[in-house]
Symmetry: C2
Subunit: 492 residues, 2 copies
């Protein structure tokens, strides 16, 4: 099986597609840019979703559901939103099909044209703020801390499974507050929630910070972002949290009476992560043998394979191991399929990124040992059966930590503090993050992009700890003064 | 608060809308027929979803996700499906907006017309079977037991929150099997899974059975259904499970090599329940004071209210009760809000259908008792504080059982075995289920509908136990021979 995967050094982009395909994560559909998320891929997404949902609820948020379709006129209400937001979206114009007069199938019924076209939501700020107008009257109705799990659609020209698809799944939080301070604190709190989830559960180290004005969400006053570095040194924006000021409240006329009975516009945030996280997860840890998953997100954490086949004695030992692992909350499967050889199974579970593989044969049993293989390093060792479940439990924790450490080491090793245009170009050229001074103007930002294809990724909230902080400086391109350093990189 | 609800006797239909509105379950949106599911309503749906999802997984199903949009041509492939299925659906014709030349907002870009129109899924058989063609090659790939949680859209003319909306949320299972027998067994197994969930968790008694040919799902060989009786004696179809034969496999050319290396078409089922279940739940148990929820689906099971307000002594006792209830897995809230009077709170939690309310004041404390009010019967009693958590735990079980028993008593009391047309008309007229003989022809079925507005609800798999089984008979309308009885009723 592994042979079927293109190696990273040969073609990084094809390697990613091969893994998505061979590990059974998604497949293409007949609808342009829309993928099918296959059961194995969806099982990983369900684990991501469950953990995030718990964190949202623990921080006081509740779930709700808003309509899929948005009246076209809503998109015109917030000036920046309509100007800056992609206009590539799916437009519903009719509400009925009819049999074709020539019997060839069905056609659109021309008499069923909608009075106003409807847009499949590319994001839900507009329809939600139109709704909040009815829900918010007094300071007693605030804060409103609502999240929605939904599908959204943006008519992307170039798509790649999980990373950029026309339809994708996501969560979008939309909160309403009585004060600027409270809304700003919410946006920052969610940034930290995302960071903690992605680093602790997905084992992906992040740089967090604020987006420049140019890279900000259309309609936001501030956009916070979490940025990861993939194995090719490119950045992947993995989630954003926006402080929306009073922009949407003003556009949709959402006011409340404060404690002094005065009318004020409501303050807002919105924030989201999507199935794009799946893309980050796959790209971050996998290797030329297939998918590698952090144990905390692996639908199956341990597989046990009899070598060459099961017998009563082996079954008995394995059943005890399974009971012990299950009682520790570890998911485990015993693969006794006689139609497949052990070697084939080994390759299959490697492809699927199962973190730990146990293999046991007659001789192992006689020696009181079992073979333990870890997916991340592909190391194998013979381990005593006595205490094996405790060993495996610890190993899963080690793998989780090792994946994070490995990724962090790679990321840190490819983040460079640069102070000359030549050094900047060289870092971007070979693939990596440039940590440099910038004069703060959109003009310079666009010039940098034009010259190198690198975009500003984030202005870190505090200086990167691995470098000595040298305060102010001069812009890498224009030579003008700069207050602090920013991260530039090529991005997905 | 309760005064704001129209009584059932006055206007049953308005009563339902009032509860949906006042209990905070859903609200209308600006998009025709599309509702917003509010946080409290969504919390109930999340409980429904979690329980069903567990049952699906326990029976070997896995979740996946298929595209929202379906190429128009797919809908023409299965002859019955296109003929019988509602053609009222949302049609996407364009993929871009542009700024209006006159600066008035955004308009559809006429140059961004799709080559083939896309339909927002009204159900996913077609796109799923188009995908299964790539996934199924050999008997080793079968069975395929896949479920999807998704939003779907049908352009309904008359809508009511939860019961009939243009967009709704549902799960749709789509399974593929090597043999007819296996697929038929799956469809029946799911019928039983639905019955058990709706009766045991939602406390709604059901009649289960098969649909007539006329009421069958378009493209199915058999449709099984679960039917509930609402408080006005009308039927609510609450879920369906279809045996699809080889119809979709033939339409989408999905074959597999069997164990003897011969090519065969795959056998199929599909099945679903939707947010319509929310409508059934609300209509089934609620009263003129508001929502009534079975404890197993109540987001909040117990509320504790200090009367008239909290103090240290009361807080201490309540905290212990809360700890004990939580350790039993019971959800509980202590409402110490000083801005609202106890009477206001009582009415609010009654409106929201919280199953058990505990109220405690100084005098109760002195007497070592607490006031317990159950929402279903509105009985109040003074109960010793000693052992109160065990008492409440048992009370929640009693309420769950009582709601089911009350609904079953009502349903049985309004199900009539009828053997004359006059008796039939009278049952349908006053609201109830008629259990009668029918000649099996669509012609007669349509005639009955024309005369009385009653439709066939289901042919029970076995005779109803509350009546003596009298075998064959003659049709209520045509007088022609009938093999067995069927249920007719007016329906939502």
């Amino acid at each position: 099986m592994a042979k079927e995967i293109t190696s990273r050094s040969e073609d990084y982009s094809q390697w990613y597609l091969d893994i998505v395909n061979k590990a059974g994560l998604s497949s293409n559909s007949k609808v342009r840019g829309c993928m099918v998320i296959k059961p194995y891929g969806f099982a990983i997404w369900e684990k991501i979703k469950a953990d995030l949902d718990r964190r949202f609820k623990e921080t006081g948020h509740v779930n709700a559901y808003f309509p899929l379709l948005i009246p076209k006129s809503f998109l015109s209400k917030e000036a920046d939103h309509v100007e800056g937001f992609a206009k590539e979206c799916a437009v519903v114009t009719h509400h009925r099909l009819m049999n074709a007069p020539d019997g060839s199938g069905v056609v659109v019924d021309p008499s069923a044209r909608l009075e106003e076209e409807l847009i499949i939501r590319p994001t839900s700020e507009t329809i939600i703020w139109d709704t909040y107008k009815d829900w918010i009257h007094s300071y007693r109705d605030l804060p409103l801390l609502i999240n929605q799990w939904a599908n959204v659609m943006r008519w992307e020209m170039r798509t790649r499974p999980f990373l950029r698809t026309a339809e994708f799944l996501w969560q979008e939080g939309h909160t309403a507050h009585a004060t600027r301070k409270e809304a700003e604190a919410e946006a920052v709190m969610i940034l930290e929630l995302y960071r903690s989830f992605v680093e602790d559960i997905m084992a992906i180290p992040l740089y967090t910070g604020e987006k420049t004005a140019h890279e900000r969400f259309a309609g936001a006053d501030k956009t916070y972002t979490i940025e990861a570095m993939m194995q090719d040194g490119k950045a992947l924006q993995s989630g954003t949290s926006h402080f929306l000021g009073q922009n949407f409240a003003k556009a949709f006329d959402v006011t409340f009476l404060n404690e002094h009975n005065k009318s004020e516009h409501v303050w807002a945030t919105s924030w989201g992560v999507s199935t794009r996280l799946m893309g980050a997860l796959i790209m971050m840890h996998s290797d030329d043998e297939g998918l590698v998953l952090p144990p905390k997100l692996a639908p199956l954490q341990v597989v046990i394979i009899p070598v060459p086949k099961a017998n009563d004695e082996i079954n008995k030992v394995v059943e005890q191991i399974m009971d012990e692992l299950k009682s520790k909350g570890i998911s485990v499967k015993y693969d006794t399929d006689r139609k497949k050889r052990p070697g084939f199974k080994f390759a299959q579970y490697e492809m699927e990124g199962v973190p730990v593989r146990l293999a046991i044969g007659k001789r192992d049993l006689a020696n009181g040992v079992i073979e333990v293989a870890r997916r991340d390093t592909k190391e194998k060792s013979s381990v005593p059966l006595e205490g094996i479940s405790t060993y495996v439990e610890q190993l899963l924790e080690d793998i989780q930590q090792h994946l994070f450490d490995r990724a962090k080491k790679f990321r840190d090793g490819n983040t460079f503090k640069v102070d000359s245009w030549e050094a900047f170009e060289s870092v971007i050229e070979k693939g990596g993050f440039a940590y440099c001074h910038w004069d703060g103007s959109t003009e310079t930002e666009l010039k940098i992009k034009e010259l190198t294809k690198a975009t500003s990724r984030c202005i870190p909230l505090s200086p990167l700890p691995q470098f000595e902080d040298d305060g102010e400086g001069t812009c890498i391109l224009s030579g003008k003064p700069s207050k602090r350093r920013i991260i530039f990189a090529k991005a997905y």
